[in-house]
């Protein structure tokens, strides 16, 4: 099963992955037009280790035993073919998943319902945009 993996030794902390993630969600073709002046709500985010120059990206691990899916009270979170996705029509924004995920990878969308990385399978490209957009190969999509 291919997943997104992160190598913090290669991460530059440039936040480009966050922009590619937000851009992918718009479905538009021009990134600057799609995102200019907007507050982005990416499903991947860059962390910085305090008092160091270490940065790294964090996004859904698509766990084998997903606590978010098992704890979901509405059945909005499901796992199909190894990919965990959210049915935003079913989500009631209780945030049990936010409370359950050990990696902090469920995010609040603008409407309040939960949003998460779905590996960009729904995009035209069908592969994670954060990976393709990373300029230093710090984010990789592969089977391990």
């Amino acid at each position: 099963m291919k997943r997104v993996y992160v190598n913090e030794n290669r991460c530059l902390g440039c936040h480009l992955c966050e922009y590619y993630c937000a851009f992918a969600a718009t479905g538009q073709s021009d990134m600057s037009r799609a995102l200019k002046g907007k507050k982005i709500r990416p499903r991947i985010h860059i962390e910085e280790v305090p008092n160091s120059d270490i940065t790294f990206a964090v996004s859904c691990r698509h766990c084998v035993e997903p606590l978010c899916v098992k704890g979901c009270i509405s059945g909005a979170l499901t796992k199909t073919d190894g990919v965990i996705s959210v049915d935003r029509d079913k989500c009631v924004s209780c945030y049990t998943c936010v409370l359950s995920c050990p990696y902090g990878c469920l995010v609040q969308s603008e409407s309040g319902v939960v949003d998460k990385c779905q590996l960009c399978l729904q995009t035209a490209e069908g592969t994670p945009r954060c990976v393709d957009g990373c300029i230093n190969a710090a984010i990789i999509y592969e089977e391990r």
């Binding site: 305090p50 049990t96 936010v98 409370l99 050990p102």
Partner: protein
Amino acid sequence: MPHFVIIGNSAAAIGAIEGFRRIDSDSKITLISDEPHHTYGRPLISYLLLGKTDRERMLYRPADFYEKNGVTAKLGARATKIDAAAKTVALDSGETVSYDKLLYGAGSSPFVPPMDGLEDVKRKYTFQTLDSALALGEALTEVGANARVLIIGAGLIGLKCAEGIREKCASITFVDLADRVLPSILDAQASDIIKSACEAEGLAFRLGTSVASFTENTATLATGEKLEFDILVLAVGVRPNTALLKDAGVKVERGVVIDEFSRTSNTDIYAAGDCCEQKDVVTGESRIMAVLPNAYMQGEAAGLNAAGVSVQFDKAFPLNAIGFFGKHVLSAGFYDGEETAIVEGNNYKKFFVRDNKLRGFILIGSKHPEDGEIPAYERAGIITDLIRRGTDLSTVDFKLLTQHPALAAFGQDVRREYLGEEH
């Protein structure tokens, strides 16, 4: 081929089916539920009245779930007796179902204490099942927007009910013997925050008192005050449904006693969900932890073990994520030990540490955080995991976690494991 029989149709039952079918795709599964409905997200009944979901969207699993999983679902059938020696379940229809392995996930029922004159109240409701929510919704429609609602019990069920019906009635008043709201999941300061948020919505509270007597539309409190109402909601608490197993000779304390394999004292009977008690991961004491994630995972463990593999679920602890009138409350674990409180803007955070381990926490943030404000609940699961794993806090940057939960608070080896390996 063994016959796996399930009593119940909520998270524990569905977890059991999904666990069982991961291992065994052939054996027969029969599900028995006294509710005549397809499985639905039980905590969603308040959102249903609120209009935030509907009957179709609140289905816990798709409409073809039973069919796809080869489950014979007997919906609207009540199990009346379990014969553990003969390994049979008797139904109210007169039918008898034989089992090889049984999962008992019968949940809990509203507890209604005896109250003087309660029988004279015509419009009285509980709030735990879809049918009870639909009945309350109908009553509100009948009485109309002028309805005055009295709710006995200012706990989770009562408050969520209030949020669900606030727009459908003229007033809501709570009466509770406790001196604060949500005492089971909040500390005193957090209770005050939620109570204030409720009061800002027009909800009224009579705390530290009880109803001495009822007439059809009046409650007389122990203080002597008389409260007029049109609709009464009884949300005092719940009791685990244990009778069938107790009668079958299975060990029952406050709840049905299960181990980390979801086994009861009878080798062929598993139990899961709100009817059970299990050792919690923090204190090791056996207790009822009636929240949906535990129910699902206890059920899943039961299903896996019933199918013949040995899988443990030994990570149960209390956890709640719930919104009330613009506030969002996330809490987990137990509230003893050294306290650290952080109160900033709309955020309230409290952490409880004992023996260098996180015992529990309470986080309250605004559902609609102001620009630049990081709500207290964001990425809360990173903190929950400290409880789940019993992490030694000297190995993490705990101060950072209390400010902004982040994987950066962990050592490089942990980050590598989390982000560079399959989970």
